[in-house]
């Protein structure tokens, strides 16, 4: 109560501060008046009396100055004294200070780092005007969830929706850019006219946005918008750049606009669009019902709600299905969600899990420090009691203890901030796949503020409880009673409770980490159907002006395969793409003889030998042959699951229709099933068509045991030596692509493991510290027991039982908590359930092992106590 009153008085004093000065002035003048009046009564002239009074007062301003010193000085000086004294006390016990600082730094560091990630990725609104009203429309068909819309419905949505305005499509990809004969790969996006105005890119720095009617002619691009960065980097910031000619993807184009600096394209992960786009290409809506895979972005009309737009789209979707029953045999569901929500959908569960984990780490750190602090304060009991007896108020002592804690917390927080900075730097190394807005993650003002808040809150948390607990039983009682036994039951219980909760709390992140570890292991060990080891991929971009016919392109591919295949160290080489598990995969619909609705699946465009290089087994029939390529035969190799589904395994010789070929393809072989979309996805079917049947920008695949550093340049040189217009780029091992496909899991797993281990170490240190302390307090008791004939073994058992009980209870509580919490992880897991016996057993084993060390050492020391020394202790 007295604290509260003091605080209130201080607050009132603060509020009065403005008036105080005027008040003081008035008071002093009244004083001078009174004194002058008294002189007058003694018979002096009024003017003389007043002068004498002022002289006596020694100047009103001087007095005011001294009063101010007293007023301000008392609080500031007391705080300074507290800080100075606190620092001196801590300086004398550097071990304690160091452990506390490191513990707090760990707790705060991981929180600040994860906060800055969550803040940048989840919380900060997208860098667009009125970003909350930008929507993403997705289409779900039964065969292919979240496939996005096909262009056909887009047409209709654009014309028919009244609640969603300026609907745009955008597709991210890279492009080759040639300026003054120097070629490079740049990030590009093909966007419909509405996109840039929709995202608030207008007005541009220079020129205008894309207008498809002017900037494209059929598929030939004529005008592009370039980024501010590209303009500066390659075109020297030329103010006359509008109208300048560049070569993009071998098309001769002119620059029609320059974007504003720092414009970022933040789109859902499935768009595969870079955030920094260098070249914007025009794109038209194609009135096709078949093409799928493109996102749709729109803006909510003024006054409309998301729910209203959803209702309207649902009605439109049933209209499409009624109008095109063959195109949507499985039905069609259009869903609309705010862009911000869709962008973060894939990473949100992981980030939420990580945030929870760091929360646990911080709580454990606080509990740990509280425990240490409690023990330490206990050893200072005498000091505190003496000071209390000498007249220090309880407030004074609590303030003193809090000052010490605040010093520790601020130092710990500062170290934590450094740690967080390192952590954010390490994000690049962990390279989570498509963590949106990763470039914006930084320890910024918000993160600093968060850290400062955490620091203060945690210091109060770990400091206030022990401080209050100790100054309560004030009056002199412990002055004389620092002998063994003074450790009251209450504080022993408090210690035990804290350790128990620490162990329980550490179990939860450990279980989560264990589950992620199992998931990751499952993903790594899952047979993916092909062998990425020792396979190097390299992309080739052909100049379509130079290689204008299918035959020329096929001839080039054959030459390239021959050249690369002949390189020393190369076992086999072929061409085919896109690589399985690469981010961009395309899907298509195909039909067996007479199945009406067909089947959705993926396709690869390949040259002979692709299956061999990739280690995909041939189950029946033959691979695509060189003859097939030469004679442009329309053949196909299908995946065993497709063969089973359509023809009960007897596929060779059958005919398969695909949406881009008028004639059906003849099945010549059956290949093993591979997981090409996502390791978690085992169901997607695959067909392999010759490169002349479906032409894409191709990828060289090379089986070699030579190191990338030598074989990479060799491949590039071998192909590019064949002539100009065939740049080779993006040379990387197939292993990399596979690994990158499970990056988000790896990222979550690594961080969760890190946080889990941190919690375990903290809990272990806490358990050890507490037991060591509790045991040391009982040294005398043990001495008595030993002297009375107890064996060392029984002392050992006594201490081990105490530690074991704490660990066991804590673990049981923790497991119960983990059961409740890890259910939330469900979506992140693969091949393991949230309640996994192996994980639980390993975590319990791990905790038990740590506990054994933490309990064993103090127990051993207790057992080795020499009775005579122990009895004399204190």
């Amino acid at each position: 109560m007295s604290i509260l009153r003091t605080v209130l008085a201080r607050v009132r004093a603060l509020r009065r501060a403005r008036h105080a000065d005027r008040d003081l002035d008035e008071e002093l003048r009244a004083y001078v008046d009174a004194r002058a009046a008294s002189y007058e009564r003694q018979g002096r002239a009024p003017a003389d009396a007043r002068r004498a009074a002022l002289i006596e007062v020694e100047g009103i301003e001087q007095v005011k100055e001294r009063v101010r010193d007293v007023r301000i000085g008392s609080t500031v000086e007391a705080a300074a004294r507290d800080a100075r004294y606190g620092a001196r006390v801590l300086w004398r016990s550097p071990g304690y200070a160091l452990i506390v600082i490191v513990t707090i730094a760990l707790g705060i560091g991981v929180n600040a780092a994860i906060f800055s990630v969550v803040h940048a990725v989840l919380w900060r609104s997208l860098p667009y005007p009125d970003a909350a009203r930008i929507l993403v429309i997705e289409a779900d068909t039964r065969a292919l969830p979240s496939a996005y819309s096909s262009s056909g419905p887009v047409f209709d949505v654009r014309t028919q929706s009244r609640l969603i305005t300026s609907i745009a499509q955008v597709e991210g990809r890279d492009a080759s850019l040639e300026v003054d004969g120097v070629m490079e790969r740049v990030a590009a996006a093909r966007a419909t006219d509405e996109l840039l105005p929709l995202l608030g890119a207008t007005p541009l720095t220079l020129g205008r946005t894309l207008v498809t009617a002017e900037d494209a002619h059929d598929i030939v691009v004529r005008g592009v918008v370039i980024s501010h960065e590209l303009w500066q980097r390659r075109l020297e910031g030329d103010p006359q750049v509008i109208g300048r000619r560049l070569t993009v993807n071998n098309f001769d184009v002119q620059v029609v606009g320059v974007m504003r600096p720092d414009f970022r394209l933040v789109l859902p992960a499935r768009n595969h669009a870079e955030e920094r786009i260098d070249v914007w290409l025009p794109r038209d809506f194609a009135p096709s019902l078949l093409y799928r895979g493109l996102p749709l972005v729109g803006r909510l009309a003024p006054g409309a709600s998301v729910a209203g737009a959803q209702a309207e789209l649902t009605a439109l979707a049933s209209g499409f299905v009624a109008g095109h029953p063959s195109a949507y045999p499985g039905g069609l569901r259009l869903t609309v969600r705010p862009l911000g929500e869709v962008v973060t959908r894939d990473v949100k569960p992981a980030l939420v899990a990580l945030s929870a984990a760091v929360g646990f780490v911080l709580i454990i750190a606080c509990v740990n420090v509280a425990n240490l602090h409690l023990a330490r304060t206990r050893t200072r009991e005498r000091e505190l009691a003496v000071r209390r007896a000498l007249g220090a108020t309880r407030l004074r002592l609590v303030r003193q203890l809090l000052a010490e804690n605040l010093i520790l917390a601020v130092l710990g927080g500062a170290c934590g901030l450094l740690l967080a900075r390192l952590g954010v730097g390490a994000l690049d190394w962990l390279r989570p796949v498509h963590l949106p807005r990763q470039s914006e993650i930084a320890i910024d003002g918000a993160a600093m503020l968060w850290t400062a808040g955490l620091t203060v809150v945690s210091s109060v948390l770990f400091g206030l409880v022990p401080a209050l607990a100790f100054t309560r039983d004030a009056d002199g009682q412990p002055l004389h009673s620092s002998r063994a036994g003074s450790l009251q039951l209450r504080s022993r219980r408090l210690h035990r409770g804290l350790v128990l909760s620490e162990i329980a709390l550490s179990i939860v992140p450990l279980i989560a980490a264990g589950l992620m570890l199992r998931t990751f292991a499952n993903l790594v060990l899952t047979p993916i159907g092909f062998d990425p080891a020792h396979v190097v991929t390299a992309r080739i971009s052909l100049n379509l002006g130079e290689f204008s016919t299918v035959d020329r392109r096929s001839a080039f591919y054959r030459d390239a395969i021959a050249r690369v295949g002949g390189l020393p160290g190369v076992e086999a080489a072929s061409i085919g793409g896109p690589p399985p598990l690469a981010p961009v995969q395309s899907t298509l619909r195909f039909w067996g003889s007479d199945d009406g609705e067909g089947t959705m699946g993926m396709h690869r465009s390949v040259m002979p030998g692709y299956l061999g290089v990739m280690g995909i087994p041939l189950r029946a029939g033959r691979d695509i042959s060189d003859d097939d390529i030469r004679h442009r035969r329309r053949v196909v190799v299908v995946d065993e699951r497709l063969a089973a589904r359509l023809w009960h395994g007897e596929a060779v010789g059958k005919r398969l229709s695909v949406e881009y070929s008028k004639q059906p393809l003849e099945v010549v072989g059956v290949a093993g099933h591979i997981r090409a979309r996502d390791i978690r996805d085992s169901g997607t079917l695959m067909i392999y068509v010759p490169s002349h049947v479906y032409e894409i920008e191709q990828t060289l695949v090379v089986k070699t045991r030579a190191p990338l550093s030598t074989i990479g340049p060799a491949i590039k040189q071998a192909v590019e030596a064949l002539g100009p217009g065939r740049p080779v780029f993006d040379i990387r091992p197939m292993d990399d692509i596979v690994e990158a496909s499970i990056d988000t899991t790896r990222f979550t797993m690594l961080l969760l493991s890190g946080f889990g281990m941190t919690s375990l170490v903290l809990a272990g240190v806490g358990l050890y510290g507490t037991l060591a302390y509790l045991t040391s307090q009982r040294t005398q008791e043990f001495g008595v027991r030993l002297a009375l004939g107890a064996s060392a073994g029984s002392i050992l058992r006594l201490v081990v039982r105490e530690g074991g009980l704490l660990t066991g209870l804590g673990a049981a509580l923790g497991l119960a908590g983990a059961m409740a919490v890890t259910r939330a992880l469900q979506g992140l897991l693969y091949g393991v359930t949230p309640v996994d016996a192996l994980t639980i057993a390993s975590v319990v084993g791990l905790v038990a092992a740590v506990a054994l060390v933490a309990v064993g050492w103090p127990a051993w020391r207790a057992a080795c106590v020499d009775p005579t020394t122990a009895l004399r202790a204190e």
Binding site: A34, V63, V70, R71
Partner: protein, 111 residues
């Protein structure tokens, strides 16, 4: 005449508390009363009085209030709070202890 700097440290607080325990007074009157009751021995300078008063107010031992004086001027009257009364008791006890100890020391006969 004794300047406050000659006063034993902390005794000014005690004196002010004691004076105010008798009745609420304004600054000028406090100085007068102190001189009067100490038989003109103790006098506090104006430059020390106000800082001391404000310090006591800050500690919550005294409180201030604007009131008219006997000759109808406005002045700030200080009075003791409950905390102030307790403080006065403990300081008085301290003073008694200290002063009797000093007296004892001073009175030792020289051999």
């Amino acid at each position: 005449m004794s300047r406050p700097t000659d006063l034993v440290q902390g005794t000014l607080d005690l004196l002010l508390l004691k004076i105010l325990a008798l009745e609420p007074l304004h600054g000028w009157a406090i100085g007068q009363r102190l001189r009067q009751v100490s038989g003109n021995v103790l006098q506090v300078s104006d430059g020390s009085l106000y800082p001391a008063l404000h310090k006591l107010e800050n500690e919550g031992w005294i409180q201030a209030e604007w009131k008219p004086t006997e000759n109808n001027r406005r002045a700030k009257f200080y009075s003791l709070t409950r905390a102030g009364r307790r403080q006065l008791e403990s300081e008085t006890a301290n003073w008694d202890r200290l002063s009797s100890a000093i007296t004892q020391v001073v009175r030792i006969e020289e051999a």
